[in-house]
């Protein structure tokens, strides 16, 4: 039941952002930033609750994201497909996206990526575990596609930078 609270609150947030910022691109950026901030904190909560160990490679990471994280927070289990030959890109396919229950995109907001918060969350959370990734929506049920698809691309492993002068 409380997932509706989250869905409705998210809807109110996006509506407010659309009013504050004139164009969709700015709203998308803002959602991504907010998602990032949420992600860096969510990862701690996730690690505390789920007790998963360190992932050894990107494939394991993908599995944990889809089967544990999404299930825990949104109650859905997306499927993982479309691995690139180098193993550094994959797609998360969400059959139904709980964020968009009750939502319709009006025509004048066709470039709005409604669920962009999710991309930010994924980016922020993974950065806290030393992985720089890029996440973006390639299909969206709100725009008429059959499923929602997020493409995740591994950029690099983040090394801890020692401050200059300390070796």
């Amino acid at each position: 039941m409380s997932s509706e609270l989250f869905t409705l609150t998210y809807g109110a947030l996006v509506t407010q952002l659309c009013k504050d910022y004139e164009n969709d691109e700015d709203v998308n950026k803002q959602l991504d930033k907010m998602g990032y901030n949420i992600g860096v904190r969510l990862i701690e909560d996730f690690l505390a609750r789920s007790n998963v160990g360190r992932c050894h490679d990107f494939r394991e990471t993908a599995d944990v994201i889809a089967k544990v994280a999404f299930k825990m927070y949104l109650g859905i289990t997306p499927s993982i497909t479309n691995w690139s030959p180098a193993g550094d890109e994959f797609s998360l396919i969400l059959e139904n996206n709980p964020l968009v229950d009750f939502v319709e995109l009006p025509d004048n907001h066709s470039s709005l990526i409604y669920s962009n918060l999710l991309c930010g969350v994924l980016r922020g959370a993974l950065e806290m575990v030393q992985m720089a990734v890029e996440a973006k929506f390639v299909q969206d049920t709100l725009k008429g596609d059959g499923v929602t698809e997020i493409r995740m691309r591994f950029i690099r492993r983040i090394e801890d930078n020692l401050p200059a002068g300390e070796e």
Binding site: E4, T9, Y10, L13, Q16, I38, Y73, G75
Partner: protein, 148 residues
């Protein structure tokens, strides 16, 4: 579902987002609180529609307030209101001793003045819920000590 953590984080983000996009000044503070309250209002309206689809008609105002304190609060914050007082003339005081949205903040006087930002959304939530049940109301909140 560990949905609660997600909602808490989203709510905190919303509060800081709204304040960041506004500039300094007393006037702005009021406007931000209004924005948050209005968001809560819309959410409250929607939520109450979903919750009361199958419940019986409410007998009177007090019945509605009891519903808010027990079922509504439980669904949103996973606990009931600790104390309900009324003067039977239209004023109701709901007391929550461990308000979920504030438990994450440190206890003590330091952040007391900022607490009102975090309450605006919830005030809107209650006002929206009541409005869809046919009651026009004004909801204000007060924090005497964290996290109450």
């Amino acid at each position: 579902m560990a949905d609660e953590a997600l909602f808490l984080l989203l709510h905190n983000e919303m509060v800081s987002g709204v304040y960041k996009s506004a500039e300094q000044g007393e006037v702005e503070n009021g406007r931000c609180i209004t924005k948050l309250e209005n968001m809560g209002f819309r959410v409250g309206q929607g939520l109450i529609e979903r919750f009361t689809k199958d419940t019986a008609r409410f007998k009177d105002e007090l019945d509605i307030m009891k519903f808010i304190c027990k079922d509504f609060w439980t669904t949103v914050f996973k606990k009931q209101i600790d104390n309900l007082r009324t003067n039977h003339q239209g004023i109701y005081v709901l007391q929550d001793n461990k308000f979920r949205l504030l438990t994450q903040m440190s206890a003590g006087k330091q952040y007391l003045e900022h607490a009102s930002k975090y309450l605006a959304f919830t005030c809107g939530l209650i006002r929206g819920g009541l409005s869809n049940l046919g009651i026009k109301s004004i909801v204000t909140a007060e924090v005497s000590s964290m996290p109450a």
